[in-house]
Amino acid sequence: MSLLSIETLSLAIHGTPILKGISLEIAEGEITALTGESGSGKSMTAFATMGLLPKGVTTTGAITFDGENLLSLPEPQMCDLRGREIGMVFQEPMTALNPVQTIGAQVMETILIHKAMAPDRAEKRAREVLGRVGLPPDRFPLSRYPHELSGGQRQRVIIAMAIALRPRLLIADEPTTALDVTTQAQILDLLKRLVKEDGMALMMITHDLAVVSDMAHTLNVMRQGEIVEAGPTSEVLREMRHPYTRQLFEASRHQADLGAARAAAPLLSVRNVSRDYPLPRTSLFGARPMFQAVKNVSFDIKRGERVGLVGESGCGKSTLTRAILGLEPTQGGQITLDGDPVWQDGHANLTVRRKMQVVFQDPYGSFNPRHRVARLITEPFHLLPDPPKGAARDTAIAKALSAVGLKPEDADRHIHAFSGGQRQRIAIARALIIKPDLIVFDEAVSALDVRVRAQILDLMADLSRAYGLTYLFISHDLSVVRSITDRVMVMRAGEIVEDRATAEIYAAPDHPYTRELMNAAPQLPDFPEAQDAPHPAL
């Protein structure tokens, strides 16, 4: 008999159905993945199992854990179960720990709240369990506070809290989504190891098919509150009986059609650029220590080239981007576009800015919520000495909207009427409207669901082919960059460690760090049709 069995679970928030009769089983020692796009109801399934549903939620069906229906279990018993029998790991390690308590106290609390052992033994156990998750007590004493740890380390603390009492079921809700790719790989390895050592069941929730493809025994593909396909992972990925699974799979490895690589004269030139930031003072009277975020970086981008800039958080790519956009001055070197410096006499050079536009990551945050689309996308007209007015302005708006696959009538609507993907289209329209030479995409598809992402990547490729645009594509995600660039630069600790053609770098990465990144990145199996798809290795 399985440890956890969910039977025709339906769930509604204030009458709006979120889950529509899902059923699944998890056995001890087994990793079961729930995957799907945002809004598919995968996180709600986890919270229903934990009995931590928000107010106003109604449920039908049954969640049976070890013979007991959790949905009808009284709260005190549920409290007893949580943390002892069922542990949970969350998406946001930066906020999931109490900032004013030491990590030791927080790990020990799991043990003490269940009165599982005496305080001195609990302390010993806390040390042990932190050691198990890769935070040895000699380097990470119990007296550390969360803010003294990195995101990956905090996630390890949270895992330690969840497994301190060796629960039989661990629920991990997007445990690596907020982490860098190398950290993600370590955390996934840790989870696999713990499952194997403790023989517990793991319910793994993720939007990323690649993350679970070589890890989960069973895969449940969810869409809009239903499980559309379920079965052993290798089988699901090999057969992909449901078209939605196939769409997800294909969108994840989508390759946009860039057309032939073009190479002409250099457009953007970055020469020996350095960016320094003052750090908080460490002593009261000494000079403020400086942090060099970008160290003497040089590269060129030729007109028509599509170049990727890849690196993990804190590598300096955002800082470099801000300098290229002329939002901040550099402390050394020069950045020129078409021969003109982007920063001149203490402020951004407007003639250069006219030739350069940017698309940001957050489709919700990159528009003033109070303005209509027409006003939003014509904002770059401020850069022009003689911006189009009247009919010419309307034509420009209509053309830009049509170019990104929207209708000219959309100009009169407010931004909140559009979905995330449509908003990124509007952001691209805003970038296109003054016909720039270079468009910088700053994590422009990172916040999108995989199928929408594929569409936006196609749009970018189409536009580049049609208008001969030059792209600088900044991302933390190797697979996305691969699909949209001719050339890739890998950045680490303020330096560009590798800079080669996309095909070459993915075929044979040169620098050890590039190799590390590639190995860490979760991969979908290459040929889903192949009969010899490997069984998930633990």
């Binding site: 007893d80 949580r82 943390g83 969350f90 109490n98 900032p99 709240i113 803010h147 908080p280 003072r281």
Partner: protein, 315 residues
Amino acid sequence: MLGYIVKRLISLAISLIVASVVIFVVVEIAPGDPASFMLGINAQPDTVAALRTELGLDQSKFDRYLSWVGGMLTGDFGTSYTYRTPVAQMIVDRMWVSLPLALFALTLSTLIAFPAGIFAAARRGGPGDLAVTGATQLGVAIPNFWFAMMLVLIFAIQLRWFSAGGFPGWEKGFWGGMKALTLPAIALALPQAAILTRVMRSSLLDILGEDFMRTARAKGLSARQALWRHGLRNALIPVLTIIGLQFAFLLAGAIIIEQVFFLPGLGRLIFQAITQRDLIVVESVVMLLVFAVIMVNFLVDLAYAAVDPRLRTRV
């Protein structure tokens, strides 16, 4: 941690210096010569001149500022223009009423607000919450001096449990003094308690929405345990700010309440001084109040560091 304290101390010193300059300059602008005012219109010019020398009014403004500040640092607040007695002694006498009153009120306000705020937050949206929120809504709308009058009307005039005003002095016994301060402290405390309750409640509710509260629940803490163990200390940070601000309001508010209850505190002193144009007293009492506010803010900053470990590692 030491760096944090030193940095706060430096900013404290700067605030005090700037505040003293502002007060000195404002009082300097005051029209009229204190010496002529004290001696009346019939005074002889040479008597006025003698008095000016005695009061130090003939020195340059800068010298007078320095001697004022220097005097305060050594406990010499100058001599009252009206009473010709040391200002320091007058202030010390009055402080024995005003300071206990403010502290009494602050204690009351905190003792009411903490339980009420926690009670309401834990029952968000329920009848208990609505009752507390409604009461605080009314509480913040009541002017404390009017509330004081109503307390006098009920407890002093009707029920005769307390006297309607005045202060017997501490030398007549501690409890007598406390009794005289009880109604004033309640009048001061209740409107402040209403504000503090609201802050406590909303701060807790903010914290209840944090990710780490969900983590706590996932560990097996009940909603109540999570609130007490993880919510409270985090919610305390904004609450501390308000307590610090409130102390300033209580000291200043005490000035008005002292009028209602005829208490011989700093408030009465300052109003007498204003009517008699005894500017050196006004100047010194105002400086003292501002000093108290700045000191309390400094203590609040230290309390932050005690509550929030993130501040300790920063300089």
